[in-house]
């Protein structure tokens, strides 16, 4: 059985937790129960839209209290994109803001855990819908994709920024020199290639440089 919250379906158990946390009245649902929703429950959701709705009802203040995320980097990109609106090709200028947060491994996994690393997520705003999402990234892999040293990073002698992290979320097997440009519509990515016969790379995460220079159209 599913529970629909803000037009997004959740399985019954998670949906009930969110309804209790957010005092959402749904006919036939008893929300006068202990609020047991945790940020971990939300982070475990595999669907980004479900996570957005869950955080909305969980509350930002509660989120901050529970996991105490630390802002590592805030980057604002001025973007231009062409899209079709009402049948007309239209150019839109807009700003995208990306914030990179670090969460202590002990906060995230529990104080009793050892050998846990700090984890990172990017908070970004959807270009078309103006909604905020969080996307977790594998920071070691982000560093590798941007040819940075993980050892230096661990020693505090290397930095990582929000654009490197949001770039990491895009994967392709097209070599850099063969990419003409990239188009992204939500979670749907297409890469325009320069030549038909090129040797495919292994599937890889793109770098900040590729993100800035090659991601041409987005919605």
């Amino acid at each position: 059985m599913e529970i629909i919250i803000n037009n997004v379906p959740f399985d019954y158990e998670m949906g009930l937790k969110i309804c209790i946390a957010g005092s959402i009245q749904i006919e036939g649902l008893d929300i006068n129960q202990e609020d047991t929703l945790t940020f971990k429950d939300i982070a475990m959701l595999s669907n980004i839209e479900q996570r957005r709705i869950a955080i909305l009802h969980f509350g930002t203040e509660r989120l901050l209290n529970e996991i105490e995320p630390v802002l590592v980097s805030k980057e604002i990109l001025n973007k231009t994109t062409d899209c079709v609106i009402d049948g007309m090709l239209t150019t839109i200028n807009y700003q995208d803001t990306y914030e990179l947060y670090k969460v202590s491994g002990k906060k995230l996994f529990g104080e009793g855990k050892w050998n846990v690393r700090d984890e990172y997520y990017v908070k970004c705003r959807d270009t078309s819908t103006d909604r905020e999402y969080i996307i977790w990234v594998d920071i070691s892999s982000v560093l590798r994709a941007n040819k940075k040293s993980e050892w230096k990073f661990k020693d505090g002698n290397e930095t990582v920024d929000a654009i490197e992290c949001i770039a990491w979320t895009i994967k392709t097997d097209v070599p850099t020199e063969e990419i003409e440009y990239i188009v992204r519509q939500g979670d749907c990515v297409f890469v325009k290639t320069k030549n038909e016969d090129y040797r495919k790379d292994m599937v890889r995460h793109i770098s900040k440089e590729e993100y800035i220079n090659l991601l041409k159209f987005e919605s």
Partner: protein
């Protein structure tokens, strides 16, 4: 006009390419400018604006995210 759905999200929306194109194993050849629409199964416009894929060769990529609890990198679903 040909159409093909490339991604179906579990929010009920899908990404559909319209126009003259061929596709095999994620490799797309657009014989003319094609439209990538975000829509419901019934063709009602979704949340994202329609984008144009120009004539030429295209390769499907993907957007991924990390799950710190499982350590897995998986496709983003919306």
């Amino acid at each position: 006009m040909k159409s093909q759905v490339f991604i179906v999200g579990n929010g009920g929306h899908q990404h559909t390419l319209y126009g003259r194109f061929t596709e095999k194993d994620g490799k797309i050849v657009c014989q003319e400018s094609c439209e990538l629409r975000h829509e419901t199964k019934n063709g009602v416009k979704g949340e994202h604006h329609t984008l144009v894929l120009e004539k030429g060769l295209w390769q499907q990529g993907e957007q991924v995210e990390f799950n710190p609890f499982s350590g897995q990198v998986t496709r983003v679903w919306d």
